[in-house]
Amino acid sequence: MNGLRRLFAILREFTGEVLLSLLLGVAAIAAGIGLLGTSAYLISSAALKPSIAELQVAIVGVRFFGISRGVFRYLERLVSHSVNLRVLTRLREDFYRRVEPGAPANLAAHRSGEILDRVMGDLETLENFYVRVVAPAVVALVIITGVSFFVGGYALRLGLILALGLLIGGFLHPALTAIVSKSHIQNLARSKADTSARLVEVLQGLEDLQVYNAQDRYFGSLLKAFQLSGNLQKRLLNISVGSSGLALLITNLTVLTLLWTAIPLVGDGEFTGISLAVITLVAIASFEAVTAMPAAALNLNASAVAAARLFSIGDGAIRGRVGAVTPDLISCPELILDGVSFTYPEGDHAVLAGLDFALKPGCKIAIVGASGAGKTSLVNLLMSFAQPQTGSIRINGVDLRDADPEWSRSMFSVLPQSAYLFNDSVRGNLLLAKTDADDKELICVLEEVDLLDWYHALPDGLDSWIGEHGVRMSGGERQRLAIARLLLQDRPFVVLDEPTASLDRVTARKVMESINTRTGDKGMLLITYDLDLLKGMDEILVISDGRITQRGTLIPLLEMDGVFRDLFDLENNRIRDS
């Protein structure tokens, strides 16, 4: 429930708009009730054949309510959606601010994208919290109170009957329905998630399945899962059908009970037949106020779950230490790794075990190792995305553990293995690296990575959109745009994770030359297999099983027996066919 309290806290920030929307919501329903009430009054008064002047007020009332209802409803929808979108903005910003310090570790999951999918789904549920839960409940309460007082004004008993009927229909019945269906909804959600995971698995593995004629068995088990899901849906259907039947029954029974109680009162002269007509129609119309309540009850459930889940992300994350050291900019920084070991929280063996090396300005170190040897973890440690369990990483004597992570990261220009390109223009993507770069500089850097021809073919030059994750570009173009972004940065150290992996040999040479020209005076850490690149290195570190097993320059390493030579025999055996 703590999550819901935070939601209400957000709503309080927009009290003005929230109140306006509630007021309009009440007004819209009140106008509907008013329309039928005044119409009933008009007709029944007219039946007694008074002078037309006596009917004027009622006629004006009918016209007023007839027009105002739609207008109120229209305004109410606009204002409440505005509240929705404001809540969405706040939720997103809050979430981002909460999660950012611990990212990307707190957003990582077993299956990629799983957490983000859930976050987006939860945000969507919570975004509608106001319109689907709060507004209907408040409006219903206000209308129930108002209508009951109005009818109670004729006779207390009648007011009580109507209030009771509306409360049962609007609160008790929806709450019971929500409770009864809760477990079924959870089961269905689980069954759907399971089916979806299985379907993905079968689709991704269809090639293997078909090769071995196993597809029928797997499709068969999927069909069974669909069947199960269908059965759960049928059970839920039964509940919802029963519930809507019950709602209809409650409405009509309330009206009938009112009639049974009111008719004798007319005979007793407590009030006139005109009033009987008015009371009947007002009662019928007032049930409009509770029609949204069953859905609201279900949404309340879903919102509580979503809020609990969403607000828990980031709460347990590694935060940037408050008051952490931010050393002055240093002219000649040196990076030292001293016995660095790292094990993933859920892992059972060390990914890195006692890594030692030093990187000075102008010095170039290469890291070579089979996949899974711990190279990516090393980059993550340097970026302060994780921390070594033992040993230390220091820049000019400052342990990265004590430094502000933002400062540590500002020491490195990094090209990760899969650099992310944003759904933005070419310019937008490049300016992230250097906000004040002008067009000339951007085009210059594009030329350095051999993207000039590509740039000239763009429809809108630097303003051309590259699409989601850069879908409009080829793999090699994406890699080179990421390298261009890197070249715009001017930081003491450069870390490159297989920069030439998706490039052909000629382009690779050209791009690497540009990188070297730009970063000649910086310390460079290069993760690669490319023999061409290893030639110019000051030191090559061979990592296997998280340890440095060999180190030295290219020629001596090639002459030595060991992992490095094996790797290179393998690499030389590989045909470069991309």
Partner: protein, 580 residues
Amino acid sequence: MRFNPRLFTEARINGLLFILTVLSSFLVGGIAVLQSYQLSLVISGVFIDHRTLKEVNSLLQLILALVLIRVLFNVISELLAGRMTINIKNKLRVELLAKIDRLGPEYLKNEQTGELTTTALQGVDALDEYFSQYLPQVLVSVLLPLTILAVVFPIDPLTGIVFVLTAPLIPLFMVLIGWAAEALTRRQWKALTYLGSYFLDTLQGISTLKLLGRSRERAADVRQASEHYRQTTLEVLRVTFISALALELIATISTAVVAVEIGLRLLYGRIAFQQAFFILLIAPDFYLPLRNLSARYHAGMTGVTAAQKIYSLLDAPEPVIHAVQPVRQLDEVANADFKISIRNLSYSYPGLSSHSLEHINLEIEKGRHYALAGRSGSGKSTMARILLRFIEPDLGEILLNGSAIQEYSRDDWRRFTGWLPQNPSIFNDTLLVNVTLGDPSFTINEVESALRSAGLAELLASLPLGLATPLLESGTRLSGGQLQRLALARVFLRQPSLLLLDEPTSHLDPDLARSLDSSIKTLMQERTTLTIAHQLSTIEGADEVIFLRDGRIAAIGNHATLMRTIPMYGDFIKGEEIRS
């Protein structure tokens, strides 16, 4: 309007169920009219004729009975509609799965798995409201107002005329304003999608933002983009909501007009109170189905959009032709001498003008090892996929001992062939099932021996539950090398006569790579193999290298000969740009 004839057909196939659904929801409305009539009798009796409760009690009891019947039909109609929907959804899913099977992995390669899953699951679920609410509502919104008209006209023609004149305005305005809203949405579309996806894009790229030192200040951008999104959305909503406003206005103003009109005629004694009150009661009911229809308009649109995706998948052209009836049994040939002849084979991928394979002629003889070499895009994997019958050649034929391979059933053919992919799939199931893929005909001994041959004896021994160990849950993670071996075990278990391999290219540990190599060599022994080669040693060890270039066979021969005689081949092996 928002109507899809094929969706309607789905409903019609459920024949009786659909008719009953519409009928019962029509009855619900009909009974409501009757109920209003009785209610008007009660009120008028008490008010005008000064009847007592005792005198109108039977009428009230009748109303109670009507209420109960109405509730009953309401339950029936919703239950039927819901059941029908679940049936239709299930049927569509069965069709979709069968279709995906026929389309095969070739089709999936060009589609995003995520999107297909969405179509088959959420897409089909989106039809829920379409069938259970929208479609019945379309018919009810025609039937019920007509019935009410039929009741009202004899009682009060003037009101009937008001009804007739105002009712068509509702769909008319809906369409007109719908167009305007659609145009506006289209205009704002780019801004809306960009701003809408901005947050997700930011979260996905958060580590890159951190590397660039931009992640902290991005929080303000997130707020700005969100705020901008709010304003743009509200602009669109201002127009979109007008259609609802128009509907509301027509319905309420018409009710008001009717109320005033019958009120005045009552005043001059031209109509009886009971009739007037009855008309007042059912006036909202007259507009209700039309308003409901517009409220469900969105559900209808969502359903139709989802249906488009579903049917475009169901209508996708299938790559493998199954029309030829299998006429031969493959087992007889499998052990005998066989020869595969590829004659003048050409293939181009749908939508691509250039050929992926062109005029391929090749003989594959039993017991020999063939290596497919060439740059990426030269047609190596297309060749393998044709031999695996994932795709059907456009021209030419493949003969097994002189008869076209289509004369064998797909299942038979795939028992004859084996495939070792680069990235084998692993399933969230036990080790046993991951090897047998659910085929119960293999014995435990056979499976264990296949695992041993594939070099997984150690892994098997280390697993506490042995073959019954679930592979993805409980932390049992296979390394890249072990995954390759699992795929090897699958092949060892089945002992195919013709083996196709795609050599792994990832940077494996040298020790691992060596031992994997030797397992593969064992598997290849005395078997006919065709390898998509990425390693020099494989090419050197092959009896024949098939050098592909731009979809044509540029040369065939053993490696040494090709190196000597074909300069282009030498360039390719050295990784240089190929001189043409």
